[in-house]
């Protein structure tokens, strides 16, 4: 062999190896899935009072394993995490004073009971004495105080804490860095605490069921401030047993949970990506969502998967919003014309294959105050043309842009269809502007867009979470810039109205008014389409993200 050839091969091999080595050095620095993600849990030793599974709390020990496909959570800190991907795990690992059951009613969790003062502003919570963290340590009111103050503290970096805990007196002082202590939160003894609100708001309990108000372990966080979320010690029914980034997550039932041992022992998430429907068909996972493209096939009664198909409504709404401050949508006639010119039923049938229902109002099914009658404008192209002609912009419409969040190749076919309807029926050419979410919301906040195609997901089942938050003139989320003093007054009244019936009536009134004024064009409600294996029992698809594994039985 000539030296040239040897040199050549050696040289090439060296190039390859060293090139790889550079890359590998970085990897070795990371290690990632090779190392165990270690972090201390709580104080180290499990509490001496930990008993055998199920013994004290009745019911048999947890059993069975559920397999799902999922995504990596970004960050398992309940005070900070903002994405649905993390929320799904957080609601199982952590919990708060109260929780929502599958009918979305408030139920006790760490707090066993509570009473309200005469003026409705102060709530006194009595903790369940059996409540413990997952390492066995009992939960005390100090933990609640710590959790709330931490959530609000600017150091934690939460963007939602002020929204969910801000009704407590003194909370805003903490979130703005002026105080470290919430004046309205008083620890009365180890298992009693009182919370005073700035007004008698009946929906506050819903906010306590939201992750921002969940309880975290002070000792764990102080011992390991940077990495505690890798193996969190929560108060929820499931422990994070294992988390390999990009590979899998395993949740294991916490048998000593104060509400009883969960029925389902293990939940295994496969994080590697790839089609979950195929995995379901292959028997690798037990539950899967169904994409629009496959829906047709599965909804066909003849398809073999049809028996396993379920459909449940979700509490969210897809809508077109108008910026009521800028031309031409500062004229209600123009807004109404645009609302009348879109055949939403047709779009739902053809483009969306009937997968989701047309919205009949702003409140979604299941939200208190929902009614099935259709309060929205029907499809009436002639009336639309007439209204447009009567408006003050008739004949001299400015250029109109519809903004939509997205960074994909094409605008959703839905939006394209909508725009085409306006072209066909009103003769108006609407431009579609796609923006990635980073800039999109900012631009909406700055009032740059004339109209936008968005969705809103209910965080808790109360009309306040949509009607007040989005339409109250001074609300920070009011992206339509809608300012109607009459509506404002009604919303303010509804906040503290103690009589539930009366309260809901006020909201329904507001809803009708908003639709009539065409501040929004409610487009569609949402539905979850899923396949569930027959051996999985008790699995629900709650319309908002709450825990759902506790009562599941897998008899595989």
């Amino acid at each position: 062999m000539s030296s040239k050839l040897t040199l050549g091969i050696v040289g090439v091999a060296a190039a390859l190896i060293i090139g790889l080595a550079v890359i590998l050095v970085v990897v070795a620095g990371g290690g990632g899935d090779k190392k165990d993600t270690s972090a201390t849990t709580g104080s180290g030793t499990p509490a001496a009072s930990a008993t055998k599974a199920g013994a004290d709390f009745g019911g048999k020990a947890a059993s069975g394993e559920l397999r799902l496909r999922g995504e990596d959570p970004l960050f398992l800190d309940p005070a900070v995490a903002q994405d649905a991907g993390s929320a799904v795990y957080i609601v199982e690992i952590f919990s708060g004073l109260v929780r929502l059951d599958k009918d979305l009613k408030i139920q006790p969790d760490v707090a066993e009971s509570w009473d309200a003062s005469a003026d409705g502003k102060t709530l006194t919570f009595h903790l369940n004495k059996k409540a413990t963290f997952q390492d066995g340590r009992p939960v005390t009111t100090d933990d609640i105080k710590y959790s709330f103050e931490r959530a609000l503290s600017p150091d934690t970096g939460s963007v939602t804490s002020e929204n969910f805990l801000g009704d407590i007196v003194g909370a805003k002082e903490v979130s703005r860095g002026r105080s470290k202590v919430i004046s309205g939160l008083k620890v009365i003894d180890d298992s009693t605490l009182s919370i005073t609100l700035d007004a008698a708001k009946p929906y506050f309990l819903y906010k306590l069921a939201y992750p921002t108000a969940f309880i975290v372990d002070r000792r764990q966080i102080e011992a390991n401030p940077k990495r505690w979320t890798q193996k969190p010690n929560g108060t929820g029914p499931y422990k994070l047993k294992e988390w390999k980034l990009g590979e899998k997550i395993t949740l294991e039932a916490y048998d000593n949970h104060h509400l009883g041992a969960p029925k389902l022992k293990t939940v295994r998430y496969d994080l590697t990506g790839g089609s979950s429907l195929v995995a379901y068909e292959d028997g690798d996972i037990d539950i899967t969502g169904i994409g629009l493209d496959d829906l047709d096939r599965i909804q066909d009664p003849a398809d073999k998967l049809h028996k396993e198909y379920t459909q449940t409504p979700r509490q969210s709404i897809d809508y077109l919003g108008f910026n009521t401050n800028v031309p031409p949508f500062d004229d209600p006639l123009v807004r109404q014309a645009f609302a009348l010119a879109v055949d939403r039923k047709k779009i739902a049938e053809v483009v969306l294959k009937g997968a989701i229902p047309v919205a009949t109002g702003i409140l979604a099914p299941g939200v208190p105050g929902y009614s099935a009658d259709d309060k929205t404008y029907p499809f009436d192209p002639q009336k639309a043309k007439d209204l447009l002609a009567q408006s003050k912009y008739a004949g001299k419409l400015p250029e109109i842009t519809l903004a939509e969040s997205g960074a994909g190749a094409t605008v959703g076919p839905t939006t394209e269809a909508i725009v085409q309807f306006w072209k066909d029926n009103l003769g108006v050419d609407v431009k579609i502007q796609q923006a990635e979410s980073g800039t999109f919301f900012q631009d909406i906040d700055n009032g740059r867009y004339q109209m936008f195609h968005l969705g809103w997901i209910m965080d808790y089942p109360d009309p306040e979470d949509v009607l007040d938050i989005l339409f109250y003139s001074k609300s920070k989320q009011n992206n339509t810039r809608y300012n109607n003093p009459a509506i404002d007054a009604k919303l303010e009244a509804a906040r503290t109205e103690a009589d539930t019936e009366k309260r809901l009536t006020i909201y329904q009134d507001v809803e009708k008014q908003l639709i009539k004024d065409a501040v929004w064009v409610p487009m569609f409600f949402d539905t979850t389409h899923a396949l569930v294996k027959p051996y999985v029992k008790g699995f629900e698809f709650p319309p908002v993200i709450i825990e759902r594994f506790r009562d599941v039985e897998v008899t595989r």
């Binding site: 089609s275 493209d293 483009v351 994909g408 190749a409 094409t410 076919p413 269809a417 725009v419 923006a435």
Partner: protein, 348 residues
């Protein structure tokens, strides 16, 4: 891989300096004798012609929908079928071709011809500090990972950039400019009156400006290097020295003597470049950094046709546009090959 292609094309085109006219003429004749080259030229010509006259040829509008005809297969009225919104596939393809035509020509003209040639000539002819500066800059630019940078720049700078272009257009809103835009098809006054006031932004071209500016920015290095090598060799040749001695100005030397002799490299590079730009548009649009909707583009068509169920049940929605674009790219590649042979066969 596109960079690889261009580098190869250049590498194989090692041309010796010769007097200009006979080179070009002989090359063209030689080229036309190859049947494959002619076939490629025909394909390319057809594509570009259809693209140029697209609005006149396409039977339906790009966005013209009819929800009752969703996902119809090929039929008399719609020879290539309809998509989810009932839009005619054939028309969409024809209009997308126009975008490809505009985009490829513009990008190649700047990034693959203007920049490499001018910078390469500068570096090669001037030498010294200019040479070193251009080389160093090129090295730094080519060390950066192009695609991530492209994504980053597009995500962060695009909105602002489009805003600038729009303001700029607002300032030059004069009659003849609007007429020109309408004539070249950048906007369509009959369809949408307001679009011709801002033809660059409303046609989506301003969007793409930024992309191809970035592509050019990262892509000129290879071509420039080869031009530079060629210029260095040329510089020492007799007739250049003679020209210099006779006091010809730098400009004259560059344009009259050097430029014609680097044309072969440039042509081969341009041909490969046109193909690669057509291809990358597809990927970039898919990622959301290429042509923005609702402007026609092959990327949009292919993205629409790619999801598994769509592909399974209506393969024509992906395969037809894919075949057409692939043929174009293939034609460019083959042409590049043929050009190579033509230019190098004398050397052997």
């Amino acid at each position: 891989m596109t960079q690889l292609n261009i580098e190869l094309a250049h590498a194989e085109a090692g041309v010796r300096a010769e007097h200009s006219e006979s080179l070009t003429r002989r090359s063209i004749r030689r080229l036309l004798r190859k049947k494959i080259a002619v076939a490629c030229l025909v394909v390319i010509a057809v594509f570009y012609t259809v693209g140029a006259f697209a609005p006149l040829i396409a039977p339906y509008g790009y966005a013209e929908q009819n929800l009752d005809l969703s996902f119809n297969g090929p039929s008399l009225h719609h020879p290539f079928g309809t998509d989810r919104n009932g839009r005619d596939s054939l028309s969409r393809i024809i209009l997308a071709a126009r975008t490809t035509v505009v985009v490829t020509l513009a990008t190649v003209a700047t990034g693959m011809v203007l920049l490499p040639v001018s910078l390469g000539m500068l570096a090669g002819y001037r030498g010294g500090f200019v040479d070193a500066a251009i080389n160093r800059t090129g090295e730094i630019l080519s060390s950066m990972p192009g695609l991530p940078m492209l994504l980053l720049i597009s995500a962060t700078m695009r909105p602002r950039f489009v805003g600038w272009v729009k303001d700029f257009e607002g300032k030059i809103d004069v009659h003849w400019w609007r007429w020109l835009a309408n004539f070249t098809g950048l906007c369509d006054q009959s369809q949408d009156a307001t679009s011709c006031h801002h033809p660059l932004t409303s046609s989506g071209f301003a969007d793409y400006f930024l992309i191809f500016a970035v592509l050019s920015l990262f892509g000129w290095v290879g071509g420039a290097r080869l031009v530079r090598t060629q210029v260095l060799t040329l510089r020492r040749s007799e007739f250049i020295l003679a020209a210099e001695a006779s006091g010809a100005s730098t400009r004259r030397i560059l344009f009259q003597h050097i430029l014609p002799n680097i044309m072969p490299i440039v042509i081969v590079g341009a041909s490969a470049g046109l193909g690669s730009i057509a291809a990358s548009e597809i990927g970039l649009t898919f990622l959301g950094v290429g042509i923005q909707p609702p402007h026609p583009s092959f990327g949009a068509l292919i993205t629409d046709g790619a999801p598994r169920t769509v592909l399974e049940n209506h393969p024509e929605l992906l395969l037809v546009p894919a075949a057409i674009v692939a043929s174009l790219i293939f034609a460019f590649n083959l042409l590049g090959d043929a050009l190579n042979d033509v230019f190098t066969s004398r050397a052997n």
